[in-house]
């Protein structure tokens, strides 16, 4: 490599699988960027992808990523923008091959090297690991994984930035990974571009904080921002965030000119505290960031400067995300109108529960909410409210059971209430609810040395 850049710009293109389809294209065309990072993997996504792969060995990745690449690849190649994405799901190689096919279709073959990061998938190794004394205890309940072993659908270790760095060093233009942490997709490019050592803990922590800020897309640039939300401009045209980093680890959060939204200390702070645990120890495979050391300032409009971030050495563990089959659930709804909408909905709930009880159905949980009254804020919401005058209330009842039968029977008890329950009821156009399989999440830790990330390069 010849010389190091003064600044590196990493753009956030997707905050989750399902985020705005326009964002990646806007990020690579709206102004200069060096890297585009896209986060596709939520905890349950891996099990859905594992199921797809078991039906078809060529599937098991985020197909939307390939559609996105088809749209942005000509720009990405022309401008020399590199892409990092955990779109590979449980089949990063198949995802890479799909991108290769797209590159060939666009006549970009010979101009594109794809790095494939694997090694996170532990599903085929679980029995061996358990046999060798790796209990993979549930971090919340303490139970060993063997208790649900026969129900496991996917098991992936969270890899960090290291394999992303390795792929970039070997010349990859697009890095497609499986379960790499969201933050690693931003930290990796910064470590590569600035040559940060893997034990430069403060810089690792700074790059991790940068990753945390942009990993939810526009949620740091005015999206879902409570502070002064009515005056955030041009949300229809919202600008997704860009990290403009310097070699010393300080960085700015900015967005392209002529985009909407707003980047200020309030919008960035809201994202910093999002999904936070102990702020002194934000643990990733790469290191431990101390969020109480972060200093924010606003040098100009839509630019927030982040500095002072301190870090600590990485732990010797990796987090493992296991998905397993848990049971069934269903949710039914009906809408009751004024007058006494809430009283009517409550009466309907009592009748429904008695009927479920009389049928002898057994549930692990029955959960009732009155949407429009207390669904999100519970009893806190009804203080100082003239309850009789509430214009309408949606009765929303959910049930959960290990077996499908009681859940299925429940789904047939909602509609009858229209004719044989309390009055002024409507809102059943959608038909009866369907029982849904619950795939639950089992967080665990594993010794780092048990997981070997692998990097492979594919020429398009």
């Amino acid at each position: 490599m010849t010389g190091r850049p003064a600044t590196v710009r990493v753009a956030g293109g997707q905050g989750f699988w399902g985020d705005w389809l326009e964002a990646p294209y806007r990020q690579v065309t709206g102004g200069p960027v060096d890297y585009l990072m896209m986060d596709y993997l939520a905890e349950v996504t891996m099990s859905i992808l594992q199921k797809q792969k078991s039906r078809d060995p060529a599937r098991g990745y985020a197909v939307d990523f390939v559609t996105q690449m088809e749209r942005i690849l000509p720009t990405v190649v022309e401008r020399g923008i590199k892409v990092t994405a955990n779109a590979g799901g449980v089949n990063p190689r198949a995802c890479a091959m799909a991108v290769v096919a797209v590159a060939r279709k666009l006549k970009l073959n010979g101009k594109l090297t794809i790095g494939v990061v694997t090694g996170d998938d532990l599903l085929g190794r679980l029995d061996g690991l358990i046999a060798r004394g790796h209990d993979l205890k549930n971090l919340d309940t303490g139970r060993p994984l063997k208790d649900v072993r026969d129900k496991v659908l996917s098991a992936n270790a969270y890899l960090g930035a290291a394999p992303v760095v390795a792929a970039l060093q070997r010349g990859a233009h697009v890095v497609i990974t499986g379960r790499v942490t969201d933050t690693g997709l931003t930290l990796g490019p910064l470590m590569h571009a600035f040559g940060w050592a893997s034990d430069a803990w403060d810089r690792i922590a700074a790059g991790t904080v940068a990753g945390h800020i942009i990993e939810c897309g526009a949620q740091c640039s005015g999206g879902n921002c409570l502070y002064d939300w009515q005056r955030i401009p041009d949300m229809a045209n919202i600008g997704y965030p860009i990290v403009e980093a310097r070699a010393d680890g300080s960085f700015d959060i900015v967005k392209h000119p002529r985009t909407g939204g707003r980047i200020d200390i309030a919008s960035v702070t809201e994202q910093l505290v999002y999904e936070m645990g102990d702020p002194r120890a934000y643990i990733t495979p790469d290191g431990v960031a101390d969020f109480t050391t972060i200093q924010l300032s606003q040098p100009s409009k839509d630019k927030v400067r982040v500095s002072g971030v301190r870090g600590k050495p990485a732990t010797d563990k990796l987090k493992v995300s296991v998905a397993y089959f848990y049971g069934y659930k269903a949710v039914g709804t009906l809408v009751y109108a004024w007058p006494d909408a809430l009283e009517k909905a409550k009466a309907a709930d009592r009748i429904l529960r008695q009927r479920l009880d009389d049928l002898g159905l057994e549930f692990e949980a029955i959960h009732t909410e009155f949407v429009g009254a207390d669904a999100t804020h519970g009893p806190l919401a009804l203080k100082d409210v003239d309850v009789a005058e509430i214009p309408e209330v949606q009765l929303r009842v959910g049930v959960r059971a290990r077996d499908e039968a009681p859940v299925d029977r429940f789904t047939r008890e909602i509609a009858p209430l229209i004719l044989n329950g309390p009055p002024s009821v409507t809102g059943f156009a959608g038909g009866r609810p369907k029982p849904e399989e619950i795939v639950a999440y089992w967080p665990a830790l594993i010794d780092k040395r048990m997981v070997q990330p692998a990097v492979e390069l594919i020429e398009a």
Partner: protein, 105 residues
């Protein structure tokens, strides 16, 4: 006099399993000591007593004029297990902003 937190702070919340987190951020730096003093873990646990079945932890971020609360047992099992509309605790944030604290006039 009493004032609602919505006039003193903004907030964002999220989830980790069955735990909801709420980041409470002072609207002005001068409000932060007030939040530290009055919005204690015990006070937040009382505020949410009908909605959570676990303890509340509090962490201070004076650098961001923010407090972070962890509300354990808040999400009916959390994630895909939960039957709640707000299974990911996204609007616990504004539920906290309903709390009233004592402010010297």
């Amino acid at each position: 006099m009493k004032q609602r937190l919505v006039d003193l702070a903004h907030a964002r919340s999220g989830d980790k399993g069955d735990t909801a987190n709420i980041g409470l951020i002072a609207l002005k730096p001068k409000y932060y000591p007030l939040l530290v003093k009055q919005v204690t873990a015990a006070r937040v646990a009382r505020h949410f007593k009908a909605m959570i079945n676990g303890p509340v932890e509090r962490f201070e971020l004076p650098n961001l004029y923010a407090l972070n609360f962890l509300l354990h047992g808040a999400l009916d099992g959390g994630g895909t297990i939960s039957l709640k509309t707000d299974a990911q605790g996204k609007v616990f944030s504004t539920a906290l902003l309903r709390m009233e604290i004592e402010v010297r006039k």
